[in-house]
């Protein structure tokens, strides 16, 4: 909604008014209510209703797609005198022609022309940002500037090709796609069954990516926003694949840069390797031993290799804790507790697993 005005706007559409004097004479049976004007109401969310005037009985008035003879548009009709408002169950579709009919006779038609649709969506980021990824890369996120269409299949708009320009199929095809609630960020899994050693997809097809190769993700320009405007241009990201990452991220190995007291300088953390951009935003918190969790702003550094916390209030001398949810993952899906591809047959030392890992630091 960020690019939209908050207030509702009314756009008046002067429908092509059709008067049925001749038709009425020809049919010679009843009077059809005349229409003065037709108004479509547009809000932030689209064309929400149509208002018209008619002397006819609203029970016999319905809205149809132009050319549709049987099925009327579902919705609710409210009337006040000769003024009627029809609210469709699904908002009217942009560029679609509709007719208002009474007992089969067309009273008027109108076309939806939503000014909001003029704003084209953009891709803001394709994560990971880095152009070098491990062979066992687990996820790719696409972030859009606007909510994206909720029909169709995301993978129909995403093509992946390797260095020889051969199209390749690397993503897990899920019927229920993994979008966030605003529908402007998509999570794509590189087929985990192919990443995990010895699973059938892994044996039959091998890893989705091969070390030493380059791949290009191309997002097709015809992918639309929720309001039907296309991206308008293709977006591409090329990355080079290196050997698999088989190391767990470790909190104690990260370099912590501690700010001085009475400053608003950030607490920074060098993560050594790129981490999952989305999880990194939400899995770290700073806690004062005496005052509890601190409020502040988180900024991620280049390629999600660094993390910085800018406090709202100046640092006070004392003991603090950096708390990290163990579900934070690196690009290969290895979290602070275990590797993504874990061989359960090996009676290996999994270490101490816990929901969070904590590191203490002192500001003096």
């Amino acid at each position: 909604m960020r690019l939209y005005n908050q207030s509702d706007k009314i756009k008046e559409i002067r429908g092509n008014l059709i008067f049925f004097c001749l038709l009425t004479l020809l049919m010679g049976c009843r009077q059809v209510g005349g229409l003065g004007k037709v108004q479509v109401t547009y809000s932030d969310v689209g064309a929400v209703n149509v208002r018209f005037e008619s002397h006819g009985n609203p029970k016999h008035i319905a809205v149809f797609l132009v050319g549709e003879s049987e099925t009327a548009v579902l919705g609710s009709m409210k009337s006040q005198g000769n003024t009627h408002w029809f609210t469709p169950a699904l908002k009217f579709t942009d560029r679609q022609d509709y007719e208002i009919r009474e007992r089969g006779l067309t009273l008027a038609h109108f076309t939806i022309d939503n000014p909001k649709v003029a704003v084209a969506p953009e891709i803001l980021a394709i994560y990971p940002n880095t152009d070098t990824v491990p062979e066992n890369l687990l996820k790719i996120y696409l972030e859009f500037s606007l909510p994206i269409q909720e029909v169709g299949r995301a993978l129909d708009f995403i093509k992946v090709s390797d260095g020889s320009n051969a199209e390749t199929d690397i993503f897990l095809d899920l019927e229920n796609e993994l979008w966030n609630k605003a529908h402007d960020r998509l999570t794509l899994w590189l087929n985990p069954g192919r990443i995990k050693t010895d699973l059938i997809p892994n044996r039959e097809l091998g890893m989705p990516l091969s070390a030493g190769k380059s791949y290009t993700i191309q997002v097709e320009p015809n992918w639309k926003s929720a309001h039907g405007k296309t991206l308008g241009r293709p977006y591409t990201k090329t990355f080079f694949v290196t050997k698999a990452d088989c190391q767990k991220p470790t909190l104690s190995a990260w370099a912590l840069n501690i700010p001085k007291k009475s400053t608003l300088l950030p607490l920074t953390l060098d993560l050594i390797e790129p981490m999952d951009a989305i999880l990194l935003r939400e899995t770290l918190s700073v806690i004062s031993k005496t005052k509890g969790p601190l409020q502040g702003t988180i900024r991620l550094g280049r390629e999600e290799r660094t993390w910085a916390f800018y406090p709202e209030a100046a640092w006070e001398a004392g003991v603090y804790f950096l708390e990290v949810a163990s579900r934070l993952e690196d690009l290969a899906g290895n979290n602070l507790n275990h590797l993504f591809d874990t061989d359960l047959r090996q009676d290996q030392d999994m270490g101490i697993t816990s929901e969070t890992k904590v590191r203490e630091f002192v500001i003096d």
Partner: protein, 371 residues
Amino acid sequence: MKKIFYFTAVCGVALIAISANNSKNDTLTKDFIFGNPEIAAINQLGFGPEGILFLGDSKNAAIYALDLNDTESKASAGEIQIGDFDVKVASALGTTTDQIKINDMAVNPLSKKVYFAVTGMDGTPILLSLNGDAVENIPLDQLKYSKIELTDAVAKDAKDRRDRPMRVWAISDLQYHNGHVLVSGLSNKEFGSTFRSIPFPFKDTQDFASLEIYHAAHGQYETNSPIKTFNVISIGGKDHLIASYTCTPLVLFPMDALKNGVHTKGRTVAELGSGNSPLDMISYEKDGKSYLLMSNSNRPVMKIAHGDITSSKESLTEPVKEWAVAKGVDYVSLPMVNILQMDNLDMDKVVYLQRTADGELVLQSRTIDRM
């Protein structure tokens, strides 16, 4: 006098029956409230007792129970045969087929009425029911309902700066069984399959089980593969969850082993071929025998006798090496392809949505004699 006695007796029995029915209704829906539940998405539908419709909303990570006042019992349903069904739905929604998506279909076992979950281009959720050959809209802003959120029972979900939960649960299937709503899903953050058993009527305290399941076939590697669709079947008098995964192993779990926080190792009873994804699963009875029907993305509908699953003691632990080869429990391929949705219409019929070879989407019923 005799007539009066009979009349009084009949009235008495009728009153007892009505009050028993009402008290049952009261029990299940007494905590329902009336208003706008603000449903954000309808990803899955499933009916429970008394015509209560359960609705899975991935955006709100919530399950809703709706009282649609659709409780008039019918013994059987008429035949259904509607061509260009997506065109009909799109016209009824004032748009074209490329602007809508039919997410799920469910039949009310009492009234035999068919319901559809539809999504518009901008994500507007729509609930439709079939009346003859026409579809009707069920407004979602005035409903008698109850709701439970699928919050993470283990770790409190992170919130963004506007205090919205960051995690989304993509609900892949939902079914009511024996006082519980069973829900499978996948998180958009960490790769992991979850399966929940939520007592119904929903309680204020969220004492539902939160389960993570993995099956450990094929060299005992944990998979956490997401459940695509599931069904509950009775084997030897015990309820079992039969779950189908995206890479199509069919895995069996005893229901009583699915406990809160416990990792349950399932028994893989069949590998139904790679390059294929299960779409829907139902059970039906024919000549005193129970069968499972499974529709697939790249295979015909498979019919599997519950008895064959029972007798199949094998647990596949060796990888199936040949591409797209099926192994394990026997199944019959029915001459039904591209079945996108299906449900039991009545005791004798199944209703399904099928994309025909020429691209037409048809809604039709089929008697179980032909299955």
